[in-house]
C-alpha cells in the first residue's frame, strides 16, 4: 500500500507563488503523470513530494501519514532525474548500491542486490563501468536501477526521457510501462510530452500556472476536457477552435452558427449559454472529414503535411481561421485546392465565454469503464 495525498499544497518563493493550492489523491500502484507547459510547476510539485523542496503550506501525506517535515530518504521514495544525476566517480554497481552503502548494508549483500536489479534492466555487462562510459539510454537505465535498488514505495520521475533520441524514447517508454506493470508500485511521472502522458498514465494531472486544470484518465481528458486549456493541451495536433454564435438551445443540443453560413448542433446539455451568446466550438483534426457532398465549411488548403500513414491539411476558411484536418495518407489534396470540410456535431466540444466546457448529453462510451486496472490479476514483483 502506498498512496500519496496532497492537501491544499502551496509553494511560495520569496515574492512569487509557484504552486497555488493543489489537492490530489494518488492511489496505490497508480501511474500518475503531471503534464503542463514549461514553467507551470510540475518539477516543483514533484520535488516537494520528494522532499527536496520545502512545502510552504498544505499537507503532504504518504500512506496517510503527514510527511511535510520528514527528510527525503525517510519518505520511502526514489527519484529519477532528467539529467540522470549519476555519481560520476562511481561504477554502475557502486552507483546503484550507494543507498545501501549509506544504510550500512554489508558490501557482499549490496553488490548482490545491485546485480539483481542490473539483471532486470539488462545492465549486467556494464556493472564495472563509470557513467561517462555509458550511452544516454544506459545511463537512464542505471538511474532507474539506482531507484529500483531502494525498493521504494513510490517512484518519482522528472522528465526522464527528454534527453534521449526519439527511437530510444519510445523504447524506454515501453520499458517503463512494463516495469510499472511488473513492480506494481505507485509512480509519479513528470513530462511535457503528451504521448508519454497518454500512453503511460493511469491518471493524468494537467497543470497550468501552479493550479490543477483537470485530473482524469487519458481518455477522459481526450474526450471530456474540462476547459479550453485542457482541450488544447491534450491531443496532437491541437484541437481546432472556432468562435461561434449560439442560434438555438434545447434539451437535445445547442445549435451554433459557424463562420460562413453553416450551423452545427452539438449534443450538449442546456447551459448558461443562450441564443445570441458567443461561444467556442472545439473539434479535433482527426474528427474532421473532407466531404464535397455535405460540406459544413469550405476553404483553401494552405499546407499539406504528409506523414505517410496520415496527412494533415491546413485549411483556411472564411473569416480567416485555419483548421487542421487529418485525412488518410493517400489523400490527393494539394496546396491551393478547395477543401470541403464536414463537421459532425457529435464530435464537437462547446465552451462558454469563460472557456469552461459544457457537459455533453451522453458520456463517451469508453468513459463508462473506469481507468482503474484489475491489479489483482497481475504478476507481482518480488523484491527480495
Amino acid at each position: 500500500m502506498s498512496t500519496v495525498t496532497l492537501r491544499n499544497i502551496h509553494k511560495q518563493y520569496t515574492d512569487v507563488e509557484i504552486i497555488k493550492g493543489i489537492d490530489l489523491d494518488i492511489n496505490d500502484r497508480e501511474f500518475v503523470v503531471f503534464v503542463g507547459p514549461s514553467g507551470c510547476g510540475k518539477s516543483t510539485l514533484l520535488r516537494m513530494i520528494a522532499g527536496l523542496e520545502d512545502i510552504s503550506s498544505g499537507d503532504l501525506l504518504i500512506d496517510g501519514e503527514r510527511v511535510n517535515d520528514v527528510p527525503p530518504d525517510k519518505r520511502g521514495l526514489a527519484m529519477v532525474f532528467q539529467t540522470y544525476a549519476l555519481y560520476p566517480h562511481m561504477t554502475v554497481a557502486e552507483n546503484m548500491a550507494f543507498s545501501l552503502r549509506l544504510a550500512g548494508v554489508p558490501k557482499q549483500q549490496r553488490l548482490e542486490r545491485a546485480r539483481d536489479v542490473a539483471r532486470i534492466l539488462q545492465l549486467e555487462p556494464l556493472l564495472n563501468r563509470k557513467p561517462k562510459e555509458l550511452s544516454g539510454g544506459q545511463r537512464q537505465r542505471v538511474a532507474i536501477g539506482r531507484a529500483l535498488v531502494r525498493n521504494p514505495k513510490v517512484f518519482l520521475f522528472d522528465e526522464p526521457l527528454s534527453n534521449l533520441d526519439a527511437a530510444l524514447r519510445v523504447q524506454m517508454r515501453l520499458e517503463l510501462a512494463s516495469l510499472h506493470d511488473s513492480l506494481q508500485t505507485t509512480m509519479i511521472y513528470v513530462t511535457h510530452d503528451q504521448v508519454e502522458a497518454m500512453t503511460l498514465a493511469d491518471k493524468i494531472v494537467v497543470l497550468q500556472g501552479g493550479v490543477v486544470e483537470q485530473v482524469g484518465s487519458p481518455l477522459e481528458l481526450y474526450h471530456q476536457p474540462r476547459n479550453l486549456f485542457v482541450a488544447g493541451f491534450i491531443g496532437s495536433p491541437k484541437m481546432n477552435f472556432l468562435t461561434v454564435t449560439v442560434s438555438a438551445v434545447n434539451d437535445s443540443g445547442t445549435t451554433v452558427q459557424l463562420p460562413g453560413d453553416a450551423s452545427v448542433t452539438i449534443p450538449v446539455k442546456p447551459s448558461s449559454l443562450s441564443v445570441g451568446d458567443r461561444a467556442t466550438l472545439g473539434i479535433r483534426p482527426e474528427h474532421l472529414r473532407l466531404d464535397p457532398n455535405q460540406p459544413t465549411l469550405t476553404g483553401e488548403v494552405l499546407v499539406v503535411e504528409r506523414l505517410g500513414g496520415e496527412t494533415f491539411l491546413y485549411v483556411r476558411i472564411a473569416g480567416g481561421d485555419t483548421l487542421i484536418v487529418q485525412t488518410d495518407g493517400d489523400n490527393p489534396s494539394r496546396t491551393h485546392d478547395r477543401a470541403f470540410v464536414h463537421i459532425n456535431g457529435d464530435f464537437c466540444h462547446l465552451f462558454d465565454q469563460n472557456g469552461e466546457s459544457i457537459a455533453k448529453t451522453r458520456r463517451h462510451h469508453l468513459m463508462n469503464e473506469t481507468h482503474e486496472q484489475p491489479y489483482q490479476n497481475r504478476v507481482s514483483y518480488q523484491a527480495e
Binding site: L86, F98, S99, R101, L102
Partner: protein, 273 residues
C-alpha cells in the same frame, strides 16, 4: 590565413618576452649565487665567470638552513590544512544553501585582502604578544590561515558550484547525511579543485614575508626570514643573499614545477571550463 599566422607569431613572441622578463631576475639570482662577492657587484655585470660554492658554505656556517626550511614546511602545510578545514564547510554552506547575503559575504571576505597588512601590524602584533604567540609556529599558522582563508573559500566555493545540484539531491534521496555527502560525493568530485587550492595556499604561505619578518625572530622563522637575515646592517652581501634566496625558493619552485597542471587549473578557476 597569412594574417592569422602572423598574429599568432606576434602573440607567441610577446608571450616569450614576458616569460623571459619574469624569469630573468630568478635566473640572475641563481647565477649570482655562484659568484664571489666581488664578481657579484662588478660593472658591467659578468655573464661568464668562474663558479664557486663558497656562498653556500658560508651560509651554512652562519645559519641553519634546515631549521628555517622546517619552519616553512610546517607553517605552509599547517596553515593550508587549517584553512581547508574551515573553508570547506563555509564554501559548502555558501554554494549549496545560499541566502540573499551570500554574494555579499563572499565579496566582503575578499575585500579584507585589499587592506594593506601594515595597517593592522600593531594590533596583530599586540594580540600575538598577549597570547604568547610571538615567534611561534602556531602563531604564524593562525595568521597565514586567516590571510589565505578568503581566497581559499572563494576557490572552493567556485569548484563546489561546478558540481551539478542534482547529484547532491540524488545522494540526499539515497539517504546521505551531510557528512556522508561531503565524504562520498562532494569531496571526491571536487578533489582536483581542492588540490589546486591547497597548492596555491601552500605557495602563498611559503612566500609570505611581511608577517613572518615581523612576528618571528628565530624559533619559528621560515625561509623568508632566512633570506632577509642576509641583508644585514653590516651591508648587503649580494652573492650570499642570492645563494640564500636560491635555497629558499628552490623547494617551492620544484614543488610548483611538479604540480603546474593542477596549479594552472586552480589559478584560472572558473575562467576555463
Amino acid at each position: 590565413m597569412a594574417r592569422k599566422n602572423s598574429r599568432q607569431w606576434l602573440w607567441a613572441v610577446l608571450g616569450w618576452l614576458v616569460a623571459i622578463l619574469l624569469f630573468f631576475p630568478i635566473f640572475w639570482m641563481f647565477l649570482t649565487s655562484f659568484k664571489t662577492e666581488v664578481a657579484a657587484v662588478a660593472t658591467p655585470p659578468q655573464l661568464f665567470f668562474r663558479p664557486t660554492l663558497e656562498n653556500y658554505v658560508a651560509i651554512q656556517d652562519r645559519a641553519n638552513y634546515f631549521n628555517y626550511a622546517l619552519n616553512s614546511i610546517a607553517v605552509s602545510l599547517g596553515s593550508t590544512f587549517l584553512a581547508l578545514l574551515l573553508a570547506i564547510p563555509a564554501a559548502y554552506a555558501m554554494a549549496f544553501f545560499p541566502t540573499k547575503r551570500t554574494k555579499g559575504t563572499l565579496m566582503w571576505m575578499l575585500s579584507t585582502k585589499m587592506l594593506p597588512s601594515v595597517g593592522v601590524l600593531v594590533p596583530v602584533y599586540i594580540l600575538c604578544r598577549e597570547a604568547g604567540l610571538l615567534d611561534s609556529r602556531i602563531g604564524l599558522i593562525i595568521i597565514y590561515t586567516l590571510i589565505n582563508l578568503p581566497i581559499v573559500v572563494w576557490m572552493i566555493y567556485s569548484f563546489f558550484k561546478e558540481v551539478p545540484k542534482e547529484i547532491l539531491e540524488a545522494d540526499r534521496m539515497d539517504g546521505a547525511s551531510t557528512q556522508q555527502e561531503l565524504r562520498h560525493v562532494l569531496l571526491p568530485l571536487a578533489l582536483p579543485g581542492i588540490a589546486s587550492t591547497a597548492l596555491l595556499s601552500i605557495i602563498l604561505a611559503w612566500n609570505e614575508a611581511f608577517w613572518s619578518l615581523n612576528l618571528t625572530t628565530f624559533d619559528a622563522a621560515p625561509l623568508t626570514a632566512f633570506i632577509a637575515s642576509f641583508s644585514s646592517p653590516q651591508g648587503l652581501f649580494w652573492a650570499k643573499l642570492s645563494a640564500a634566496s636560491t635555497l629558499a625558493i628552490a623547494p617551492i619552485l620544484i614543488f610548483g614545477w611538479l604540480s603546474q597542471r593542477q596549479l594552472v587549473r586552480g589559478l584560472t578557476f572558473g575562467a576555463v571550463k
